[in-house]
Structure formats: C-alpha cells, structure tokens
C-alpha cells in the first residue's frame, strides 16, 4: 500500500472534476473569460476595420481578428484558472493535495487538463460565431480547431501554473498578465500580421503564443491560404506541443521543489 510512487489516475480525475465544478459555480468567471474578448472583437474589430489594408487581412478586420480573439479567450480562461494556485497553495485546498500520496505530476496534470477543458470549451463556444465573421466551419475545420484549442489551452494553463506557483500574491499575477502575457498576445499575429524584415518578424518567430495563434488561424483558413509569415498548421502545432511539454515539466519541477516559503 505504501508505495514509493504516488497515485496518479484517480487523483488527476478528482482534481479535473474539481476545476469543472468550481468554474460552473463561479459565473463571473464565465462572463469575464468570454464576454471581455467578445467585446474586444466587436469594438476593436469594427472600429479598426476600415484602417487595415493588406493581403493578410483580406475579408475585413473582423475576419482577421477572429482567430486572435479565440486565442485571447483561451489565454484568459487558461491563465485565470491558475490564479487560484497562489492562494490555494498557501492557505487553501492545495495544501491538502500536497500532503496526500499523490504523484506530483498528477497535481500539475489535473490542473492543466482542467484549464484546458475550460479554455477549449469557451473558445469553441465563441467559434460557433465564426461563419458570421466570414470563416465557414466544416468537418475538417472543426477537427483542426478542436486540436488547436485543446493543445493551446493545455500549453497556456501550464504557462499560467509556472507563473503562479512562485508568487506570493495575486497582485503579482496581474502584473505578469499585463506586462508579459498581453504584449505576447498582441505580438502573436492575433491583432496585426507580422511583416517580413521588421522586428515584429522576430518577435513572432520567438513568441510561443504566435504558434498558438497560427494554429488557430490555419485551422480556419487552411494551409493553402497565403498568410505571409504565418507557419502552416502542422509546424505550428508541433511548436505548441513542444512549448506545452516544456511548461509542464517546469511546473512539475516547481511543485517538486516546494513553494517560496520552503527556501
């Protein structure tokens, strides 16, 4: 009974379930994660629509900005599902999980699966509006899209976990969100296309969020469309997978080391 290795499957499932129940009971989170990007899309999309010209934004800015908005929903939902880690670890639920004979990987995995499910579900809900933005949905698009949303959601939740774990307070988290994550999103091609030869090209090439945005955009547009510097679906997914794995192992290492009060 007292094995050296911790339990994995049942705890992972229990932790995932907990994320689902919490989310359903906190209606403000549903509104915040879905409504804010929707308003961004409507206001910014229609307001800036006339000022944007170029091959990549063919079909209007509302269409160009749609995949970017999907990524923003992913980002908000995934990241905010990890804010609870900060308080949970110090004086809440997570303390009890850490002293249970649970594999540390299951603690990270349960959280990431939870964040992934919530983020992908909310983003998918928004994607139902894609046809109105001039992005038709068919079987192939939906499959690619689901794959991109699930993988992107997992990667972003793991990123949120890595950021949240060492922090002492939620204020620090909001600083990270505003100073790092939103700029990364802005430079990911979600808002405007990166142009060859400019610094934005490098910013996009080195930006993990750019590959998530690319995979969502390619899911809608297909690999045939001329999207300038945007990578094809396969490579974009491959980079996102690599990013997700790196974040997962960084999160796992952080949990194994203990919190900031252990040092």
């Amino acid at each position: 009974m007292s094995g050296k290795r911790g339990l994995f499957f049942r705890p992972t499932l229990a932790l995932w379930q907990r994320e689902m129940t919490r989310f359903v009971r906190q209606r403000s989170r549903i509104v915040g994660a879905l409504a804010t990007p929707l308003i961004f899309w409507l206001l910014i999309g229609s307001g800036l629509g006339e000022s944007f010209r170029g091959a990549e934004v063919e079909g209007g800015f509302m269409r160009y900005f749609f995949p970017g908005t999907v990524v923003l929903i992913l980002l908000f939902t995934a990241i905010f599902s990890t804010v609870s880690v900060i308080e949970d670890r110090r004086d809440g639920f997570l303390q009890g999980v850490l002293v249970a004979p649970v594999s540390r990987a299951s603690i990270v995995f349960g959280k990431c699966l939870g964040g992934m499910t919530l983020a992908a579900a909310q983003a998918a809900l928004f994607c139902l509006a894609a046809p109105w933005a001039g992005l038709p949905l068919d079987g192939a698009v939906v499959l690619r899209l689901l794959a991109a949303l699930l993988l992107g959601g997992f990667a972003l939740t793991a990123l949120g976990f890595v950021i949240a774990w060492p922090l002492e307070s939620t204020q620090g988290f909001h600083v990270m969100m505003n100073l790092v994550l939103i700029p990364l999103w802005l430079l990911s091609g979600a808002f405007f296309p990166a142009r060859a030869g400019l610094w934005t090209e490098w910013a996009a090439a080195l930006n993990p969020l750019a590959y998530i945005t690319a995979s969502v955009r390619r899911a809608f547009y297909g690999d045939g469309a001329d999207l300038g510097l945007v990578p094809s679906f396969g490579p974009a997914m491959a980079v996102t997978l690599a990013f997700a794995l790196v974040m997962f192992f960084l999160a796992l290492r952080a949990v194994r080391r203990g919190g900031p009060e252990s040092r």
Binding site: K4, L7, R10, P11, R18, R25, Q95, G258, S262, R263
Partner: protein, 310 residues
C-alpha cells in the same frame, strides 16, 4: 512498540536564520502530543517538516519508520494533516470535498461511500453534506477538515493550531472530537499550539523556544518541575509590593504587569501572612498550583503569550 513519530537532531535553516535546531523527540503510537510555543518558536517549521512539505536541513524525522524527506510518499500514506486555514475548496459542498479528498488517496466506489458516511457521522456532519463549505462556520469547517483527514484512516493526525479562529464552545467541541477520534481510530495525534489549555489536555507536551526543544514531559511532570505553590498578589503598585515582600519574607518572586508572583512551598500559609502583612496595599491574593505558563516562563525566561494576545 516503535515510535509513531521520531525526530533525531532535526534542524532547519532559512538562509542565515535558524528556525529549528537539534530537536530530538519520540512520540508513541496512540499518544496525544502537543508542540507548545509562541510564534517563532519553530513549532510550525517542525509541523511542516512532519507533513512532508518542508525538507529538514539537518538530522532526520521518521513517521511509522519512514523518513519524511527520503520516503515522503510512504509517509503521506500514513498521515492526515489538518491545516490552520482549512484545506477545503469553499465552492464545493462538504460531500464533494470529502469525495475529492478520498479520491486523492485512491479511495472510490462503495468503500469510499461507507467511509464518507462514517466520517461525516463521527463529526456530526451528516446533515451538512450538501452545504457549500463557504457557508459553514469556522468550527464546522475544521470538523469537515478533520473528517476529510480521517477518510484514509491515517496512523498519525497532525494538526496546526487547531483551535485558532474558533470560539470557546467550538474549541471545547473540537477537543472532545479529537479525544473520541483518538480512542475510536487508535490514531496518534500531534498538534502545534500556543494555548495552554490545549496543551494541558495532551498526554505529553514538548516546549519549543527559539527553535530548540526545552522540555518534553507530561503536563503534571512539567508543573512538578517548579515543585512549589504560586501566590499571586495584584495591586496598583506591584514594585512597591515586591519590595515589601522581599524585605519581610525573602521569597523568590517576579513581577508581571500589575501582578506579583511569589513562589512558596505552602501557598495557603503564605497567603495568610501576605494578607496580614500587605493589608489594603493588595487588591487580591490568590493561591494556585503552577500552570504550564509558569513552567514556560521558568524554562525560557519569557512569557508564552505577548501583551494583548488572547
């Protein structure tokens, strides 16, 4: 019978600061054991090491024969940990919290259902299973936390300041619960506390001061260390009272606040002599056996609680 919890020359530093040093103690199976000390005494550090949340920087600690640092998973199978702020999800109901906790220990299905009903029944929570935890009082939340910890039938229950945030009635209820649980489940109970009345009811008390273990005995043995009665004289000018007592009787004494504590072999006799000697200068004269607080003061040279602390 081997010890349930054993530490050997245990120490922990945080950078240059020593939080715990050279602590060696052995807690027997089935014992109710208190780690007593004020804030900063190292008791929380010791608690965190025993809960596998913090690695020791020196020495070792074993629970059920397993090393807390090297065999953390094996230790986690044997302990239930009750934190100061309950490790519950306030958004979830009592039942959902218990179910989730059971799942973390690999419990499921009919076995979990049976244990869940039993633990809820034992802690008087049967009627509260569908309530959200956030709607419960502090005392009830603590009970949910204890029920949660009992599900996997731990051999050692570790509690961090279990009375904190509870009103006197809830404290009394908690104490009765722990006493019952200990007899029914044959669990070893180890709690940190800065409350004397809590320590007083334990089988043995370890007194920690500035990261060191200064005593580890039964409450009676600890009080016996002073071996005298204590007469407390209160009055508005304690220093003046002390001067007169010193001059007239030469007994050992100390002044704290408006109170003068005098240690004498026979309290009743001394009290009578003090009343007639001091007259109206003393507001009251009381006789008592030394308390753990007196012992703490004697051992460490400092009062257990700071000014204004309850």
């Amino acid at each position: 019978m081997s010890a349930a919890v054993e530490t050997n020359d245990l120490g922990r530093n945080f950078g240059p600061r020593t939080a715990l040093s050279g602590v060696t103690l052995s807690i027997r199976a089935g014992e109710m054991f208190a780690l007593l000390g004020p804030n900063g005494s190292g008791k929380t550090t010791l608690f965190r090491i025993l809960s596998t949340l913090l690695a020791p920087s020196a020495g070792r600690a074993r629970i059920g024969g397993c090393d807390v640092a090297g065999e953390a998973m094996a230790v986690r199978h044997q302990i239930g940990v009750v934190f100061q702020s309950p490790a519950l999800d306030p958004q979830l109901t009592v039942e959902e919290n218990l179910r989730c906790a059971g799942n973390l220990y690999g419990l499921r299905g009919a076995d979990l259902a049976v244990r869940l009903r039993a633990a809820a029944g034992a802690l008087g929570l049967s009627e509260r299973l569908t309530d959200r935890v956030q709607s419960l009082s502090g005392g009830l939340q603590r009970r949910v936390e204890i029920a949660k910890c009992l599900l996997p039938r731990p051999r050692v229950l570790l509690l961090d300041e279990p009375s904190t945030g509870l009103d006197p009635a809830a404290r009394e209820g908690l104490r009765a619960t722990l006493e019952r649980v200990r007899h029914e489940s044959e669990v070893t109970v180890v709690m940190t506390t800065h409350l004397l009345e809590e320590a007083e009811r334990c089988d043995r008390v370890a007194i920690l001061h500035r990261g060191r273990l200064v005593a580890c005995q039964t409450p009676a043995e600890l009080r016996g260390r002073l071996g005298t009665d204590v007469v407390v004289v209160s009055g508005r000018k304690p220093e003046a009272l002390a001067a007169r007592v010193r001059e007239m009787f030469g007994w050992p004494m100390s002044v704290r606040g408006e109170r003068l504590r005098v240690e004498v072999p026979s309290g009743g006799d001394a009290a009578g002599r003090l009343v007639s000697a001091l007259g109206r200068a003393a507001d009251s004269v009381t006789v008592g056996r030394p308390t753990l607080e007196d012992v703490f003061l004697e051992l460490t040279g400092e009062p257990l609680r700071g000014e204004g602390e309850a």
